[in-house]
């Protein structure tokens, strides 16, 4: 069981449980609830996905059912189910507007609007918690480990850009 096993619509399907959670079955077995993980979260959103049995946190066990090379191979309904699971697991608010950044010693307090609603968070030591992902994309990590993405730094207001420019 150490070879790569690619999942395809021919050999199995994703379906939704009553609880709204994602499950998988193939012609041999119904796995029940599964977890879907991105192997290259920064590069591919819907390719190279790893499908695992529920207790995926047990790293010692080989609990990978298989790999989805490209999600687009599956039908629309299944794509939606998988994407919903991925969105939950990789939930990271994207900042659409920066209302204010208060700098205070090594901390900066951000008040922002995001794709997931308004948020206020504190970033400690921007030097190590602000990551330039390239293509004007910035990732911030707050003091609790929550991540926030600025998808395009050229699209947010100048004042905010001024503050973070130094660290980029």
């Amino acid at each position: 069981m150490n070879e790569l096993n690619y999942l395809s619509p021919e050999n199995g399907e994703f379906y939704e449980l009553e609880t709204g959670l994602i499950a998988y079955r193939d012609n041999k077995k119904d796995y029940g609830r599964v977890a879907v993980l991105r192997m290259f979260p920064l590069e591919y959103k819907d390719e190279f996905l790893s499908v695992r049995t529920e207790n995926y946190e047990r790293r010692d066990k080989n609990n990978e059912i298989g790999i989805i090379r490209k999600l687009s191979a599956f039908n629309a309904l299944q794509q939606e189910i998988v994407l919903r699971e991925l969105e939950k697991r990789y939930f990271v608010p994207e900042i659409t507007k920066v209302e204010s950044i208060e700098e205070e010693f090594a901390n900066s307090i951000w008040k922002v609007e995001t794709t997931a609603g308004k948020a206020e968070f504190t970033v400690n030591d921007m030097g190590s918690n602000l990551l330039n992902l390239g293509n004007n994309k910035i990732m911030l990590t707050d003091v609790f480990g929550n991540r926030y993405i600025i998808p395009d730094i050229t699209k947010i207001n100048d004042k905010a850009v001024k503050v973070i420019e130094i660290w980029i």
């Binding site: 449980l17 009553e18 609880t19 709204g20 959670l21 609830r33 979260p41 207790n55 946190e57 047990r58 790293r59 010692d60 066990k61 969105e87 939950k88 697991r89 990789y90 939930f91 990271v92 608010p93 208060e102 205070e104 010693f105 090594a106 901390n107 995001t114 997931a116 609603g117 308004k118 948020a119 968070f121 504190t122 400690n124 030591d125 030097g127 190590s128 707050d142 003091v143 609790f144 480990g145 929550n146 991540r147 926030y148 001024k162 420019e165 130094i166 660290w167």
Partner: protein, 729 residues
């Protein structure tokens, strides 16, 4: 800068009464509640988790409500994702999402879960909990001024030196002011002009002038010396305080990402403060005094001319201030790039064997060239930027000077001003402009220093998370009986590494812990030695909870030999005696002999006095291992922990060390962790750890008798290993 007051207070949050009304429940029946911060798995917003006496609610104001009755709950647990998590509740073995939370609430969610768990377990014994008190904000910000005062609060310990420095500072400022007066007013009006008070006395004037200059130099030297003395002592005080608090902090402080960062910077932070106290602060005061005195003198002697002198000052301040940001940016980039370069060098040197083995020299060289090139470009940019700003500044100063010459010249001609006075003014001009530059820069410097101070105080102010109990119990010599009772433990919120572990180890017994990598074996030893405290369950030694045992007793009775042995810089002798600095030479030699280390130690040119890590003496892995075993033997501990003590060694060395270990475990309670099962052949019992639980426990024979047992399958997998046969007996 505005500051919200609430940051400095402990907020006491109240459960909104509208919610209670909506749910139709009484406040008295709420056992526990938590304010949550997500309304769905993809949206942030206020919501609440409420543990009522009948069941749990997840409620969003103006939104959904979920209710689960305790009697139906099989299990409640959390899953954590990248930036968020879910509380899951299973009914009839089927888990369903109950609420989502962001990592900011992860800790509170964990408290909620563990409360609900306990309640589900014994619904009868429900204790009443007070209203939830919002967590104290971890990043309490003390005002800048307070912080500054705190830095200064270290100063008065050195009164005599402080007094000297202040006196010298004042004298220096006075001398500064006197100089232009000498070279202007006195030189031209009194020495060179007929009828002047010192007319013609050029030679004495030069002598006086040289004398005054010499004074400046002397003051500078004295101030530098005394100042360095004080700031050095202050930094010593601060560093000692940091170091002392570090020793007291629990392991979690060092392993947590955020605080780990803090420690990396402590040294450079301390330097920042030192430079500031040494150079920044005294010079700031000198400059400030100089400007004040000069300003006063100028205004009194010639108000009109003083205004001309002062006109460029705001302009200069503005230019310096506005270019400061750009310089800061460039400086940061330079700093970052040079630290990149350092880590590239470090990586390559430390990993040189890997680099060579994989033939990646060229790749590494290319990488290095790129980094070094980027650094070079940045330096050039810095140069260009300063080449733009400084000529501009000097142009403005020159213009200011010309203005004084012009205005003053016409006043000289109309006899309102002597030539000497004009010369003094020109001299004062410089005295004014240079400090402005310095003062503006000092402001940045000050901000930096305060940032550093804040980081340092964050470490010193941190409360110990592993606290000595009020009346700690001292156990001189432990019997070595260890018991874990229903222990649940996690390093990070919501990811339990140990799950309800119970285990008893008798005095003098050797227990082998086996299991896959990451199963939680080392974690079990970490909680026995109390590197971490357990939130749920108990860890008992000799029947006493480790939280109540004096930490000194724990340290003197438990010894660890780990896979990565750590030797301190110092001699071999000191390293062996690390746990017992008072040990006699004979005891040290005896321990080394038992550890099979005596042989190679004596063969070293400096024997037991060999400095480790210096003069090219680098010990092999096995040699270091034996020294650390000798260290443990010398400590004569009641409890011994061997975590992969022999895993990286060849068979020959392992045999030697195995002998040493056999010597060591005699008469002690021993917990041994090993992947190579043959190493555990002396174990009285074995426990298999899997996924944070103990799944099998018994003698080798008992475990081999379990059908489809995990241990059995592990043994079978290793059956081909050369030295396996020894396990069988």
């Amino acid at each position: 800068m505005k500051r919200k007051k609430s940051k400095n207070e402990i907020k006491k949050e109240v459960l909104p009464s509208e919610l209670l009304l909506r749910l139709g429940i009484e406040k008295e029946d709420v056992l526990f509640w938590v304010k949550n911060d997500m309304t769905s798995s993809s949206f942030l917003g206020e919501s609440y988790l409420i543990a009522h006496k009948k069941g749990v609610y997840s409620i969003i104001p103006d939104g959904d409500v979920i209710f689960k009755e305790y009697s139906l709950i099989d299990d409640i647990f959390a899953e954590t994702y990248v930036s968020s998590g879910s509380i899951m509740i299973s009914e009839n073995k089927e888990a369903a999402p109950f609420a989502s939370f962001s990592l900011a609430t992860a800790k509170k969610a964990e408290e909620f879960i563990s409360f609900v768990r306990k309640t589900v377990k014994n619904t009868e014994e429900m204790q009443k909990r007070p209203d939830y008190v919002g967590e104290k904000d971890e990043f309490i910000n003390k005002g800048r001024k307070k912080l500054f005062l705190r830095v200064l609060s270290y100063v008065p310990r050195y009164k005599a030196e402080l007094f000297t420095v202040i006196a010298i500072i004042i004298l220096s400022s006075l001398v500064n002011v006197v100089k232009p007066y000498l070279t202007g007013r006195i030189l031209y009006d009194e020495v060179l002009t007929e009828g002047g008070m010192f007319y013609g006395k050029i030679f004495p004037f030069v002598l006086v002038f040289i004398g005054v200059n010499a004074l400046t130099v002397v003051f500078g030297i004295v101030q530098g010396r005394v100042g360095a003395g004080i700031s050095g002592k202050i930094i010593y005080d601060i560093k000692t305080e940091v170091f002392e608090s570090m020793q007291k902090l629990g392991m979690s402080f060092f392993t947590s990402k955020r605080t780990g960062n803090l420690l990396n910077r402590i040294n450079s932070d301390a330097l920042d403060i030192q430079y500031f106290l040494n150079d920044g602060l005294p010079n700031f005061i000198i400059n400030f005094l100089t400007i004040a005195i000069v300003g006063l003198v100028l205004f009194i002697t010639n108000p009109l001319l003083s205004i001309a002198v002062l006109i460029p000052v705001p302009l200069i301040a503005f230019i310096i201030k506005s270019s400061a940001r750009k310089f800061k940016k460039l400086k940061w980039h330079t700093w970052r790039r040079s630290s990149n370069m350092n880590s590239a060098i470090n990586d390559t040197l430390l990993g040189i064997r890997v680099v060579k083995a994989f033939g990646r020299e060229e790749h590494e060289t290319r990488k290095f060239k790129e980094i070094s090139n980027a650094l070079y470009e940045n330096r050039v940019r810095e140069g260009i930027a300063s080449a733009k700003v400084f000529p501009l500044l000097s142009w403005i100063m020159t213009a200011g000077g010309l203005m004084v010459w012009g205005l003053g010249g016409s006043q000289v001609i109309s006899d309102k001003l002597t030539f000497g006075e004009l010369m003094s003014f020109v001299g004062y001009l410089e005295l004014l402009y240079n400090p402005v530059n310095f003062m503006v820069k000092t402001f940045d410097w000050w901000t930096n220093c305060m940032n550093s101070a804040q980081r340092i105080f964050e470490v010193t102010d941190r409360e110990r998370d592993i606290k000595e109990s009020e009346n700690p119990i001292e156990i001189k010599k432990m019997r070595g009986e260890i018991e874990l009772k229903n222990v649940t433990f996690s390093y990070e919120p919501n990811r339990n590494v140990l799950k309800n572990v119970s285990l008893k180890i008798h005095s003098g017994e050797m227990l082998g812990l086996v299991g896959h990598s990451g199963a939680g074996k080392s974690t079990i030893t970490n909680i026995i030695t109390r590197l971490y405290d357990v939130p749920d369950g108990e860890v008992l030694i000799d029947g006493i909870n480790v939280k109540k045992i004096k930490s000194e007793s724990l340290h003197s009775n438990i010894a660890m030999v780990l896979q990565e042995t750590f030797l301190f810089s110092g001699t071999i002798k000191e390293n062996i005696a690390y746990g017992r600095p008072d040990a006699k030479f004979e005891e040290i030699i005896d321990a080394a002999k038992k550890a099979n280390a005596h042989g190679f130690i004596t063969a070293l040119p400096d024997g037991y006095d060999t400095q480790i890590g210096k003069n090219g003496i680098d010990l092999s892995g096995g040699e270091k291992q034996r020294i650390s075993i000798a260290r443990a033997i010398l400590m004569d501990p009641a409890i011994l922990i061997l975590d992969e003590a022999t895993s990286s060694l060849d068979t020959q060395t392992e045999k030697q060390i195995q002998q040493a270990i056999e010597e060591l475990i005699k008469g002690r309670t021993t917990i041994a962790i090993a992947h190579r099962l043959s190493t555990l052949r002396n174990a009285n019992r074995l426990a298999v750890v899997e996924d944070g639980k103990i799944v099998e426990c018994g003698t080798h024979k008992e475990l081999m008798d379990i059908e489809n047992g995990i241990y059995k399958s592990m043994v079978e997998k290793q059956i081909h290993a050369l030295d396996y046969t020894e396990v069988e007996k």
